[in-house]
């Protein structure tokens, strides 16, 4: 199965850690942007007519910030031109401060069946420091509107002065709000963001402290019935994110909108981040790609290893053989020997030991070229 990603590059204000394509001052371009987005969706349809999609994800930016008509329009356009499965997972990202009863109603009517809410922290002071527009109260209101829905909540680890008690409060709040899926991402200070200054000043927790918070979160989530299925993702039984799993299974996906990445027929390509450049391309009838590469030979295998080992379950040798026609344990015997201590391996498959999943880059690198 394959996925569809749609990028909504608008938000009310920029969070201090954000380096995504998101532009609070460009909302006036919404009309032209969505018109182009619809055109791009339509334009790719012919080449993807043989594909069946079982997940659609609307990310951003803040999709819930823009008028619901645009979101409804996206879903309609996709349904018009693409084949979706009956049980297709359709997710929209939401900021608690921007949601309303009308929006939820419209989303549900359009077919959206999964809501990913950016909570990040239960502490209003921390939220204010991140320049988040919402507070704890907004989150409670939002979850009331979304009661009974398939709800995922994002929380952040490694915030300034964050303690495990803070993490516990945040997780408790997410659970109280009805979350069945929780993503716990470690803050990464990207160059060019205000957060990077804090990082340089040494105001942020060290890698070790963040790792402590992560260990705490993992244990606490598991106590509460959320099982880790990927580095940063935890779900109650039956609530894993189909969309994210598709990435980690090295499935195919098409991305629409600025900065969206795609992976189709062993080609990875990414659209421009700039709204004006994007609309100019689409209006001229050309693709807005600024990057494209074909993944060949062993690189495919490496990608699969790199992505699959992010998952708690790792991967099955039979799946590897089916995809690449090679026997993993034979071809990578010498590498496996080097990482033996850090993985669990049996005759069926390989996974990284849970205690090492947070240092998996070092392990994965052994499988590179």
């Amino acid at each position: 199965m394959s996925g569809i990603y749609v990028h909504v590059p608008f938000c009310k204000s920029k969070c201090t850690y954000c380096d995504f394509a998101s532009y609070p001052r460009e909302i006036s371009k919404a009309d032209i942007y969505f018109a182009c987005l619809y055109k791009e969706i339509k334009g790719r349809a012919e080449s993807l007519k043989d594909y069946v999609f079982d997940t659609v994800y609307l990310g951003g930016g803040t999709p819930s910030f823009v008028d619901e008509k645009y979101i409804v329009g996206i879903i309609r356009q996709i349904k018009n031109y693409y084949t979706l499965t009956d049980d297709c997972e359709i997710t929209v990202e939401i900021n608690p401060e921007t949601i309303s009863e009308e929006k939820v109603k419209a989303y549900k009517k359009a077919g959206i069946n999964r809501f990913s809410v950016g909570l990040q922290s239960a502490d209003d002071k921390m939220l204010a420091k991140l320049n988040r527009i919402h507070n704890r109260e907004d989150f409670l209101l939002a979850t009331k509107l979304l009661k009974g829905e398939n709800l995922s909540v994002d929380v952040m680890l490694g915030l300034e002065n964050q303690t495990s008690q803070d993490v516990k409060d945040t997780i408790d709040l997410a659970i109280d709000g009805g979350a069945s899926h929780i993503s716990a991402y470690a803050l990464k200070a990207e160059e060019g963001t205000p957060m990077f200054g804090k990082y340089l000043n040494g105001d942020l927790p060290s890698e070790d402290e963040t790792a402590e918070l992560y260990d705490f979160a993992r244990n606490y989530l598991e106590e509460n019935g959320f099982n880790r299925y990927e580095v940063s993702n935890f779900a109650k039984d039956g609530f894993k994110s189909r969309h994210n799993l598709n990435y980690w299974n090295r499935g195919e996906y098409i991305g629409f909108g600025v900065s969206a990445s795609s992976f189709i027929k062993e080609r990875r390509f990414t659209n421009t981040e700039k709204i004006d450049e994007y609309t100019a391309c689409i209006l001229r009838g050309v693709v807005a790609e600024i990057f494209s590469e074909n993944i060949e030979g062993d690189e495919r295998e490496f990608e699969y290893i790199m992505l699959s080992l992010r998952k708690d379950e790792g991967f099955l040798f039979s799946d590897f053989k089916e995809r690449f026609g090679t026997d993993f344990t034979q071809k990578y015997a010498d590498r496996i020997k080097l990482v033996k201590k850090y993985v669990e391996i049996d005759e069926n498959g390989i996974r990284i030991k849970p205690e090492y999943i947070y240092v998996q880059n070092t392990i994965i690198i052994y499988f590179m070229d």
Partner: protein
């Protein structure tokens, strides 16, 4: 060439303390004689290696031929051979001196005579060269030309009053220097009719012409088509080209006695030519060779290993090529449990070692690991045998050692009086023994110390510079061996001895150095998936311990909306970093760790 008469030929070199303006004066002389159009001038033309320009030093000698019409109306041919100034390259200096009749001695008018001024001047006098003193940098406000002239008389015993006072930088009074060369430097002697005797004073490998030999023709003539041989080699070669330097190669029909030039003879193998050897003809050979040079012995030794073990042969090729024009470099195959196959190399000093390292990496594009430098020790075993050990891994077990000796040097240090205390303190720390102190004038003192060489190679020079704000200068001479208490300091990573990190040290230095080294390694070894104990041990007894904690987190939390490429590139970058590391047992060690031993003193002091 209009003038080819021997009495109009002048072969000379320039010697000076480092930074006194040697290369700049050479450039000015070339400019003045019209050898190089001003627009083609690159600063410091003779320093052709990138490395030389970057560091502002001369490493290799580069000859150049010029013509000059003197005030007496006659035209003269000048052969100028630039020389290095650093103490490590005394050998190179002595080679160029053998090709000359005269030497310009530059003295900086702001600094006066420094340690290497003296060392190089004595070297020139030993070679019976006529010395032409020149006072440089007179354009600077702080210049003291009168005092400098007096110093030349007092310290060296040359006539300083008639020394040209110049500014090489601004081209002032360069003509006076040229006139002095004509006046003071004698023309070469030599018999064109005698059998050929040509002294090889340098060489390099050219991809098209084979080995290019830099020669001084002492007797006879040489031209293309002649069959030649050397005294030390077996093979014979047909001369394909002879010529002079302008400063590139400029072919010429014949080189005759007294001239400086080059010979190419399709010599394919670097080993066929030895610098210092004499070339003669096959048909009418000279009865005996020229004296050649005093062969220098390397004093600093270290292991050089390819980072990528499969590059061993490339490294060998690179060393062979470097040796072709750097006869002082020695090497022999070596292997280390930690680093695999490599070479044990001998150098003239630390700078020389650094230069060779950088040339291997730049000119031959081979990533290498260099182990900490060592000197060569004499170990007298209980069975009466004496062994020479320059490699810590060959250091015998203490129970077999009767006693040991280490090489010592006599150091000549020039400094303003204000820093005498600081220098004495430094020499004390370095186990130095004071021998003498002389006030040259109110502003300058000469200190003499005897110091163990192995203390000099551990950043003595840096220490001297920093404690005297760069005002002190230093030169040394080897002064034999002295009895010493030596031990082998081992470093253990994750419980295993890493032979590439072992050191031979004085007993009293073992503990502080072991502790400093353990600390330093802790800082350069990146965290890995497991905890790594670092231990320093002497004779199996652990004297210091540090720990590199296990890594806790390196994962990229978010996968950026399917931007897999970004993640893969991050991993590729990490992989590149990993490639620069060396696997020692289970531990990955970055290549700089092996050199970190060098830096510990500056950190701990």
């Amino acid at each position: 060439m209009a003038v080819e008469k021997k009495e109009n030929l002048r072969n000379f070199c320039i010697v000076a303390h480092i930074d006194h303006g040697k290369s700049t004066l050479a450039d000015r002389i070339m400019e003045f004689t019209g050898q190089v159009a001003e627009r083609d001038m690159e600063d410091q033309l003779l320093d052709s290696m990138d490395l030389e320009r970057e560091r502002g030093i001369t490493i290799k000698l580069t000859p150049v031929r010029m013509s000059y019409t003197a005030k007496d109306g006659k035209e003269y041919i000048f052969n100028l051979i630039d020389t290095p100034g650093h103490v490590d390259f005394t050998y190179e200096v002595s080679r160029s001196l053998a090709a000359c009749e005269g030497a310009i001695l530059i003295v900086d008018a702001t600094q006066g005579i420094e340690a290497q001024t003296l060392a190089n001047c004595y070297l020139a006098l030993d070679n019976n060269l006529e010395i032409v003193p020149v006072i440089n940098k007179i354009d600077l406000i702080s210049a003291r030309p009168d005092e400098t002239a007096k110093e030349i008389e007092d310290v060296i015993g040359l006539d300083g009053s008639s020394a040209p006072r110049v500014s090489a930088k601004n081209g002032i009074n360069i003509d006076q220097v040229l006139e002095k060369i004509v006046e003071l430097v004698p023309p070469p002697e030599g018999d064109d009719e005698a059998p050929l005797k040509a002294l090889i004073f340098d060489s390099y490998y050219d991809n098209f012409k084979g080995v290019i030999c830099f020669v001084r023709i002492v007797d006879g003539t040489v031209s293309a088509g002649m069959r030649i041989k050397t005294f030390m080699g077996e093979k014979q070669f047909d001369v394909t080209e002879v010529g002079t330097f302008n400063p590139g190669l400029l072919p010429k029909k014949t080189l005759s006695a007294g001239e400086v030039g080059y010979i190419a003879a399709s010599i394919k193998s670097i080993e066929d030519i030895a610098v210092g050897d004499t070339i003669t003809t096959s048909s009418n050979p000279a009865p005996d060779p020229l004296p050649g040079y005093k062969k220098v012995q390397p004093v600093v030794f270290s292991g050089i290993y390819p980072l990528d073990g499969s590059k061993f042969n490339d490294l060998k090729e690179a060393l062979l090529k470097l040796k072709l024009n750097d006869a002082s470099l020695t090497f022999e195959p070596d292997n280390s449990a930690a680093l695999g196959f490599g070479f044990r190399c001998g150098f003239l000093g630390l700078l020389h070692m650094e230069i060779i390292q950088e040339r291997i990496e730049r000119e031959f594009d081979i990533d290498i690991i260099t182990t900490a430098p060592s000197v060569s020790y004499h170990i007298y075993k209980t069975d009466g045998e004496m062994i020479v050990v320059d490699n810590p891994s060959r250091f015998p077990d203490v129970s077999y050692i009767d006693y040991a000796e280490e090489p010592v040097i006599t150091a000549n240090i020039f400094t303003p009086p204000d820093y005498v205390g600081a220098i004495m303190e430094l020499c004390q720390e370095k186990r130095g023994v004071f021998t003498d102190m002389t006030y040259l004038d109110a502003n300058r003192v000469r200190l003499n110390y005897t110091l163990p060489l192995n203390e000099i190679i551990f950043d003595f020079f840096d220490g001297l510079k920093s404690r005297t704000r760069g005002y002190a200068s230093f030169d040394y001479e080897l002064a034999g061996y002295e009895k010493s208490s030596l031990v082998k300091l081992d470093m253990l990573l994750n419980g295993e001895i890493c032979d590439a990190l072992s050191l031979i040290v004085h007993k009293d230095k073992a503990y502080p150095r072991g502790r400093a080294l353990a600390e330093r390694l802790k800082n350069v070894i990146p965290r890995q998936l497991f905890e790594i104990p670092i231990q320093a041990a002497v004779g199996g007894k652990v004297i210091a311990r540090e720990t590199v904690k296990a890594m806790r987190k390196d994962v990229l939390a978010k996968c950026y909306g399917g931007d897999i490429t970004r993640k893969r590139k991050l991993l590729e970058k990490q992989k590149e970093g990993k490639k620069k590391m060396r696997q020692l047992g289970s531990v990955e060690v970055p290549s700089e760790a092996f050199m970190s031993i060098l830096k510990i003193d500056s950190d701990s002091n």
